[in-house]
Amino acid sequence: MVLLVFMLVIGGAIVRLRSLFAVVMLSGIFSLLGAAIYVVMDAVDVAFTEAAVGAGVSTVLMLGTLALTTSTEKENSGSGWMAALALVCLTGGVLIYGTLDMPAYGDKSAAVHHHVVPRYLEKSAEEIDLPNVVTSILASYRGYDTLGETFVIFTAAAGVLAIIGRRRRTRRGKKNQAEGSENSDQRSSSEASS
C-alpha cells in the first residue's frame, strides 16, 4: 500500500515536471517500486525483470534518447487541456471499471488458477524436475511463446539497427573512413547498395 502511494506521488511528479532528465530518473524509480510490489506479491521472476529492464536498461536508453533530442519539455500553452483531462479521466474510469470484474488477489477460485496451472504445478516435478516452476513453464510448457518473445527481441534490435544504426553498417565497407565526415547521403547510398 505504501509502495502504491509512493508510485502515485512519483506519477504526479512526472506529470508536473518539465525537466525530462528528472522525469526519466523518476520513471526508473517508478519501475523499481513496481518491482518491489512484485516482490511483495511473491512474483520474484517478474520483479527481477522489471528491476533489470524497467529501472535499469530502459532508463539508460531513455537518457540516450534525451542526448539525441532535447532534455526539456516544450511549454504547452494549448487550450485543449480540458478535453485531454476529460479523456484521461474517462479512460482511467473505464480501466478501473474493467478491474471490478477481476477476482480478488489470491482468490483460489479465480479462473487463471483452474485452467492449466494445476496441471503444470502438479506434473512439473515429475515431468521436468526443476525447482523453479516458472522456468519450466516458460521454457518448456510455454516454449513456443518464449521462442516468439525471443524473435520479438531479435526483431526489435534489427529494427533499431535498420532505422538508426546505419552508420555501423556502412562502416563494414569503408572501415577506416574518417568518423565524422560521413554525411547522410553517403549513408543512404551505401545503404541502398548493400
Binding site: 536498461v57 526443476l130 534490435a157
Partner: protein, 142 residues
C-alpha cells in the same frame, strides 16, 4: 557530457571494479535460473548492462573495441537460431518441435538439457539486442 564522464576517476575505478561482478552475477542468473528466480532474459539484460556501464563510462568507441559490431550482430541471430535449433533437433530426434523429451534417453535429462540451451539462446539474444540498441542510440551523437 561524454568527455566529462571520461575524466571522472571515481566512476572509472568503481565501474572497473564492479563490471566483473556484474558479469559474474549475470552468469549466475543465467545458469541458476532453473533453481531460483532468473533465467535467460534477466541474465541477458544484466550481462548487457555491464557492457552498457562500460560504454557509458569509457565511451562507445572503446565499448566497440571490446565487443565489435559483428559480434553483437551475429550473436543476435545466434541466440534465436540456438533456440529454434533446439526445436529442430528435437524434431530430428523423433519428437515434436521444442519437445525436449526427445533430446536424451532420459526424458527428464532431455528437459533439463533443452531448457538450459533454450535459456542460453534467450540470454545471448537479449544481451546482444540490448548492447546493439544501446550503441545505436549512444553512437549517434558523434
Amino acid at each position: 557530457m561524454k568527455l566529462e564522464m571520461q575524466q571522472k576517476a571515481i566512476l572509472r575505478v568503481v565501474s572497473k571494479f564492479l563490471i566483473p561482478f556484474i558479469l559474474l552475477f549475470a552468469l549466475y542468473v543465467q545458469w541458476h535460473g532453473d533453481f531460483g528466480p532468473g533465467g535467460g532474459f534477466q541474465a541477458g539484460i544484466i550481462f548487457a548492462s555491464a557492457f552498457i556501464l562500460y560504454g557509458l563510462i569509457f565511451g562507445v568507441e572503446r565499448l566497440r573495441r571490446v565487443v565489435p559490431a559483428w559480434v553483437t550482430r551475429n550473436c543476435l541471430a545466434l541466440g534465436v537460431l540456438l533456440y529454434a535449433g533446439v526445436g529442430v533437433a528435437s524434431m530430428l530426434m523423433g519428437g515434436n518441435f521444442l519437445d525436449y523429451n526427445a533430446l536424451s534417453e532420459d526424458p527428464i535429462h532431455g528437459q533439463h538439457l533443452g531448457i538450459l540451451l533454450v535459456e542460453l539462446g534467450v540470454g545471448v539474444t537479449v544481451a546482444s539486442a540490448m548492447i546493439t540498441i544501446f550503441v545505436a542510440f549512444a553512437g549517434q551523437d558523434r
